[in-house]
């Protein structure tokens, strides 16, 4: 089917401004947050109701047109990269908060509602939605479900999969599924788990019921500096061993602190090999007690410098540097390439020395920021795409890092998703029979294979090569968004 014919069919029930196919109109949809990959979609549809979504899916299903669903398009792995012969289904206009139930502590929202908007709507009741991906001012809850998004607080408060109760999903066959329930579980298989992180390949989410939790009374952060990375890694383990689950636990290496301090002035110790940010939240007395214990543990673990946030302003300043790590990479290098591996934390020191060795070998600098509590590492490889051959070297460097993560018992993606970016690394992580099971799961939901085909799970044939996230200075899709 060609663009004109598809657009005409869609305009039979959609307002004409909700169907785009002129090149200049579809251009804004050519990529998501991973702008290195671009592709114009054949047609863009912007439904406003679930009925319209169902109709669109019916038309596409009948005409065998593939569908790529998209929320705010802030994803970092190319999961919402359009297909030249496909429909780009934007759910951004389904953005109503349908119900906040402060007593049952739930919010029922449409998929295009922004993550932060949920917490804002719940705030008058002393409640909030816990998962807080760094892009939360812009990213949508539908996209969060598709990526199983986390955030800096996920060790304590969980990922999207732990914080959603129910989904309404339109299948490619036009069925409307109610997955999950208003209770705490549902009969049959746990399809809610399958939907979380399914990257738009199983169904189109049209409604999400999320859990809201009470906002803690107080939060305080301990900023500890360490003379070497190993000591910092041990400090994290010592905090956990003491029975403390911090609300947030973040690590940065020296090259990162130096890069951010230059323009954020967070007050980091620049002589330190690594710094740790360890946050406690809860009741006032509880936080006071926990912060005292964290302070003692950091001291015993060999911290060379410890500061405790005295007030909210200082707490936010300590965090500001961490949150500026990605922009800082963009300041000190024309391009950077962000990895997203997760490792068992005990292997941190060996992975970091491995990265250091690779850095020397390839002659490329690498900044390391680390969600230390949950083992999710973001090495940012600094390079210049204008230097011939440097991009290829960078990709090789990145692939070697992910390979190390797999060998260390970890995974190729902790939170950014596979999308198109890491599809080749899936071949390294999974055996052919396991990939076959993934294809089978998709086929159970989407027998026609029309939902976001070619993403997330490689065909067995394809298993080769590698890729990763590139951000070219000045060409980022959302330069204003925080990324951490």
């Amino acid at each position: 089917m060609n663009a004109f014919k598809l657009a005409a069919q869609l305009r039979a029930f959609l307002p004409s401004e909700a169907v785009l196919h002129e090149i200049e109109d579809v251009r804004p949809y050519e990529c998501d947050g991973l702008s290195a990959y671009r592709q114009l979609p054949m047609v863009v549809a912007l439904p406003q109701t679930e009925e319209e979504v169902v109709e669109i899916v019916r038309v596409c299903h009948a005409a065998d047109v593939p569908i790529v669903a998209r929320g705010a398009g802030t994803g970092l792995s190319g999961g919402a990269l359009p297909l030249s012969e496909g429909l780009l289904l934007s759910l951004a206009k389904l953005k109503r908060i349908l119900e906040i139930d402060p007593v049952a502590r739930t919010a029922r929202v449409q998929p295009g509602v922004r993550n932060l908007a949920i917490s804002e709507a719940a705030a008058p009741y002393g409640l909030y939605y816990a998962p807080d991906p760094s892009s939360q001012i812009a990213c949508t809850i539908g996209g969060n479900v598709a990526e199983n998004s986390g955030g800096v607080h996920c060790l304590k408060y969980g990922l999207t999969v732990h914080n959603i109760l129910r989904l309404r999903v339109v299948t490619v066959e036009g069925d409307i599924l109610e997955i999950g329930s208003d209770g705490l579980d549902a009969p049959g298989y746990d399809l809610l788990a399958l939907m979380s992180g399914s990257e738009g390949m199983l169904g189109i989410v049209t409604e999400v019921t999320v859990k809201l939790i009470p906002r803690p009374e107080k939060a305080q952060v301990v900023l500890a500096a360490f003379g070497d990375i190993r000591a910092a890694g041990n400090a994290v383990a010592n905090v956990i061993a003491a029975g403390i689950i911090p609300a947030g636990m973040e690590m940065m290496d020296q090259i990162t602190t130096r890069a951010v301090e230059e323009f954020i002035h967070a007050g980091y110790n620049l002589e330190a090999a690594a710094i740790l940010l360890c946050e406690s939240d809860g009741g006032a007395e509880e936080v006071a007690g926990e912060v005292r214990r964290i302070n003692e543990i950091m001291t015993k673990s060999g911290a060379i410098d410890i500061r405790i946030s005295r007030d909210e302003v200082e707490r936010l300043r300590f965090w500001a540097g961490r949150k500026a790590a990605f922009p800082a990479a963009g300041r000190i290098s024309p391009d950077y390439y962000c990895m997203d591996g997760t490792i068992p934390r005990k292997n941190l020191a060996s992975i970091l020395s491995g990265i250091e060795a690779l850095s020397a070998k390839y002659g490329l600098r690498c900044m390391n920021v680390f969600h230390a509590g949950d083992g999710n590492l973001h090495p940012l490889i600094l390079y210049d795409a204008n230097r011939p051959g440097e991009l290829e070297l960078t990709e090789e460097f990145g692939a070697r890092i992910l390979q190390m993560c797999i060998e260390a018992g970890g995974t190729i993606t902790g939170e950014h998703g596979v999308g198109v970016e890491k599809i080749n690394q899936m071949c390294a992580q999974f055996k052919p029979r396991e990939l076959e099971i993934f294809h089978a799961v998709k086929a159970a939901f989407d027998p026609s294979g029309l939902l976001n085909p070619g993403k997330a799970v490689p065909t067995l044939r394809r298993c080769a090569e590698h890729g990763a996230m590139h951000v070219h200075q000045g060409k980022e899709k959302f330069p204003e968004l925080p990324r951490f």
Binding site: A104, N148, C154, G158, H162, D175, L177, G243, P344, G375
Partner: protein, 363 residues
């Protein structure tokens, strides 16, 4: 240990070739759960697969908050090992007998009193190694907290009652034991108890379990001492002695409420659902989201009343314990969900040999 998994795999392969049903059975502590099908080991009509020899903790790093154990590992042993390091399975699983294994625990997908505050079994599953219906040895998820590579097949296994595969090894997130626990006893009527459970859950209070029965609300606080003390001052009530025994009796269904021998329904509903008027007596857990009904009878009319009540409360009902009833155990699925459920079953178990009929009579 590899020879054990090879043996299990061969048994599944042979059964698949001969299309013989395979009954997966570990400690046998949950034989009552689901559609009960007779075990048949001798007539050659079905194969009983007992993986309890495949036992032991494969990997446990307390500072990683992750434990990996083989399916036959006894729950009591695993929990004892964790408690040496002052850690726990935070979903507080029921054992229903000393033989309970971690494989059965995850396959049954049942969680205990801490579920409403800490999460369910599936929330703590990080990875599995399993044999599917072809006997193929597959691994999904991993031993790390965050992992979005591929569909979350590991969590799908929780509660699938062995109908999709035999779990060989399971990696679970563990959490520290709370520094302090205190249970409060508050005399209350049912409607007010439901209201309060929801009210307190909406405040930053360390409530870790609730149970209402016979005009009394029991409420457990868990956490750092200052937090527990402060919450006690806000909530009031008198401190219950023998609290550990009390919660264990609720979790293991040894509490007097569960010992009547009547058919037991498990109703999972929206936590704010007002008192449900049904024939029998009730015990409420999970802040109002779980209602146990010891029903007066096993009749069709009671079933209809229970299913209707849960439907309008946004939930579902399970006939949890019964005396050989012919009623459907699990809540009927909507046609769209049933379609996908059947297809998933066909993909994981093409010959339909794994625990057939245990979950839904159709497969």
């Amino acid at each position: 240990m590899q020879y054990l998994t090879d043996q299990l795999s061969v048994k599944i392969r042979d059964a698949a070739r001969e299309r013989k049903p395979v009954r997966i059975r570990g400690g046998g502590t949950k034989d009552f759960y689901g559609h009960v099908t007779p075990l048949d080991n001798h007539s050659g009509l079905s194969v009983v697969l007992d993986p309890t020899a495949y036992t032991g903790v494969v990997d446990y790093e307390p500072t990683e908050l992750v434990v990996t154990a083989r399916c036959g590992t006894r729950l009591t042993e695993l929990e004892a090992e964790l408690s040496k390091h002052r850690q726990m399975l935070a979903f507080e699983p029921p054992h229903f007998g000393p033989g309970a294994t971690i494989g059965g625990c995850v396959a049954a997908g049942l969680s205990g009193p801490r579920r409403a505050s800490a999460g369910a079994v599936r929330d703590f599953v990080l990875g599995v190694r399993m044999l599917d219906g072809k006997g193929d040895d597959l691994s999904f998820g991993g031993r790390v907290m965050k992992n979005v590579a591929g569909y979350d097949v590991a969590r799908l296994m929780a509660g699938s009652l062995g109908t999709l595969g035999l779990l060989l090894e399971i990696s679970l997130k563990v959490l520290p034991l709370p520094a302090m626990e205190l249970t409060l006893r508050i005399p209350q009527n049912e409607a007010e108890a439901i209201r309060r459970m929801n009210l307190w859950a909406g405040k930053p209070l360390p409530v870790s379990a609730t149970c209402f029965y016979g005009g009394e609300l029991m409420l457990r606080l868990s956490g750092a001492e200052p937090a527990v003390r402060a919450a006690h001052a806000i909530i009031g009530g008198e401190e219950l002695s023998g609290a550990a025994e009390f919660w264990s009796s609720v979790r293991e269904q040894q509490h007097a409420f569960f010992l009547t021998g009547k058919p037991l329904w498990r109703l999972s509903v929206k936590s704010t659902t007002p008192p449900l008027s049904l024939p029998g007596t009730q015990l409420i857990e999970w802040g109002g989201a779980l209602r146990w009904l010891a029903a007066d009878d096993e009749g069709e009319a009671t079933q209809v009343a229970v299913r209707n009540a849960t439907n309008s409360a946004g939930g579902h009902a399970t006939l949890f314990r019964h005396a050989g009833s012919s009623l459907a155990v699990f809540h009927p699925l909507a046609p769209g969900l049933m379609k996908i459920t059947r297809r998933l079953k066909e993909k994981f178990d093409p010959d339909g040999i794994l625990n057939p009929g245990r979950m839904y009579p159709e497969f």
